[in-house]
Symmetry: C2
Subunit: 337 residues, 2 copies
DNA sequence: TTGAAAGCGCTAACAA
DNA sequence: TTGTTAGCGCTTTCAA
């Protein structure tokens, strides 16, 4: 079994160093001046005993745990995982630990359970990934007195948030496709957190701005397989020559479906994704997409929560501009139809 | 700024309910019998004040935080992300929160910083993902008195671990390839945590068992792009007809490189991956691979730590058997050479 | 600069 | 079943 030697506590250190407990505390926190002699003795005692201050006791008295909680509808999908990575990286550099808790669905009991789990621990603040309905639902359940920020693809009122300007990116992508000569651009969207996400909004706005007919939105799930099915169906329609997908995985599925249905990408139809997934560049054909700085977004969100925790006035928004990456999956529309 | 009303504490509840503090504690923990009348009053008071027990205080007195820490070299790559998901899911169902901290490299100071970050918080146990050198290094730095388990692709002595039987899976895959008529199977490996990982070991063992010449191992990084380069190089060698890659992303890169180099997969060369990445099925050609139950592995590891925390005798190993998935990227060797 | 005393919010031990 | 008393390990007054 594990060695049963109890961990050393502060009084052990004080005794060994021949000083009082508060003096040890002073060298620990660096809050007050301690004579070099005693400081040295305390440090030696700490090393000798391998003493580590008890985090629970510290959190209790200081009313501050050094833990940031992340609430998200998913943790393993590319955008989510990268955003979490960005938060974790900044937090770690700052001496904060991050927790992750998945909100499986937007159902009341599920959301409550996830939020309660977080609230029942000693945490300093919360970052919620509001990329989907579970995330949005979770955000609503968090009491207003706990420092909270959200991360989303669209600006909204409420808690401070780090946002990606998805709408602008989508517009840029759609305009690029239109400039290639396509009569319109079809859109396959991923599940959304509100009435409409930034990608869909931007797509629609871009088409309207150019007085182009707006096709009906095609809904996909998060699974690449759903893109595959949609690609298969779309391969039978000769009127679709350009497709903008809500993310790269779906775009890959759509391309596969199109190919199976006998269409060539990009010769017969252009397909663009969103996110710049690590595999987008080596897909065949390599995906035209929009690069999003998810990790940077996470870092910004971290900055926002710590600002809130420190009780600073925090600027409400913090926007990142995605970047269009043109590769092989899109091309000028064919002259002959 | 945020509303400054202080959160209610247990004494507020006691006062409002007209009972003593320990009585409130009793209804909170359910440890002892409380009369229905008082229980009701306490519950009402809790609801009225929106009281939540202070986690730091609880952890301090009970010497148990309900937090499991995960230490990993990476969090966003498929296998890692899924494993973490599995741990989180089990933990959440059990009322535990999980933290993640990335160990960026195996350098001493980096590893120490990551481990210290974890040890400085009130945690109940640790799960380390020993898939790579940073993970292995971190495991070494954890004091023996904190409940710790590791997750790996190969059995080793030390702390209890949840393992995937990678070697057996690799053998199965290699035998399958050999049965297809290939004279040998080349191997592209991902970065390893020790002298050799289970995939490489299994591959080598399978070849030897059939008295087949063992080609030199080709080392890739974790980036799909490195697979791409390797594929390009391999496309010039007519002696390679079968390649077993350490993971699916690398396999995808290799396939892309091979195609660019003028080789057709699987007609000219068979390529197999490892993991069954979500995109493996829709890649062109769809990848033959080995499905690994990462989430299940994470769940098992969670079971192991909680066993340790509860001070149970924990069985040291817990093995999962991966499953061969044959798709389109492998085929019988061509008759003509 | 230092130590004694108090107290963070809770649970456990002990009487009643 | 209930309340009183301690005490978890630390930081923060407050004197000295």
């Amino acid at each position: 079994m594990s060695s049963e030697r109890k961990p050393a506590v502060i009084s052990d250190v004080a005794r060994l160093a021949g000083v009082s407990v508060p003096t040890v505390s002073r060298v620990l926190t660096g809050a007050a001046r301690v004579s070099p002699d005693k400081r040295k003795r305390v440090e030696d005692a700490i090393a000798a005993l391998q003493f580590r201050p008890n985090a629970a006791a510290r959190a209790l008295v200081s009313r501050q745990a050094r833990i940031i909680a992340i609430l998200a509808g998913n943790t393993s999908r590319y955008g989510y995982a990268e955003t979490i990575r960005g938060i974790e990286e900044s937090a770690r550099a700052d001496g904060y630990l991050v927790t992750i808790t998945v909100v499986e669905s937007a159902a009341d009991d599920v959301v409550d359970a996830a939020v309660s789990l977080v609230l029942d621990q000693a945490i300093a603040g919360i970052v919620v990934l509001k990329f989907d309905p579970p995330g949005a639902a979770a955000l609503h359940r968090i009491p207003t007195n706990v420092p909270t920020v959200s991360i989303a693809g669209i600006r909204e009122t409420g808690v401070p948030q780090a946002v990606l300007d998805e709408a602008a990116a989508a517009k840029q992508l759609v305009n690029y496709l239109l400039d290639l000569g396509h009569e319109t651009v079809h859109h396959v969207r991923v599940p959304l957190s509100r009435r409409e996400d930034g990608r869909t909004t931007g797509w629609r706005a871009a088409l309207r701005a150019r007085s182009v007919q707006v096709p009906e939105v095609i809904a996909a799930s998060w699974e690449p397989e759903s893109g595959h099915q949609i690609g298969l169906e779309l391969s039978e329609r000769d009127d679709v020559t350009a497709i903008f997908c809500g993310n790269d995985e779906i775009a890959m599925g759509v391309i596969r479906g199109l190919s199976e249905g006998g269409k060539s990408v990009p010769d017969d139809v252009s397909v663009a994704g969103f996110d710049d997934h690590p595999l987008a560049a080596i897909w065949s054909p390599a995906l035209t997409t929009v690069r999003q700085d998810f990790a940077g977004l996470g870092a910004r969100a971290y900055g926002l929560v710590t600002g809130l925790i420190a009780n600073e006035k925090v600027r409400k928004f913090s926007s990142e501009r995605p970047e269009l990456i043109v590769r092989e999956s899109t091309a000028r529309v064919r002259a002959s139809r």
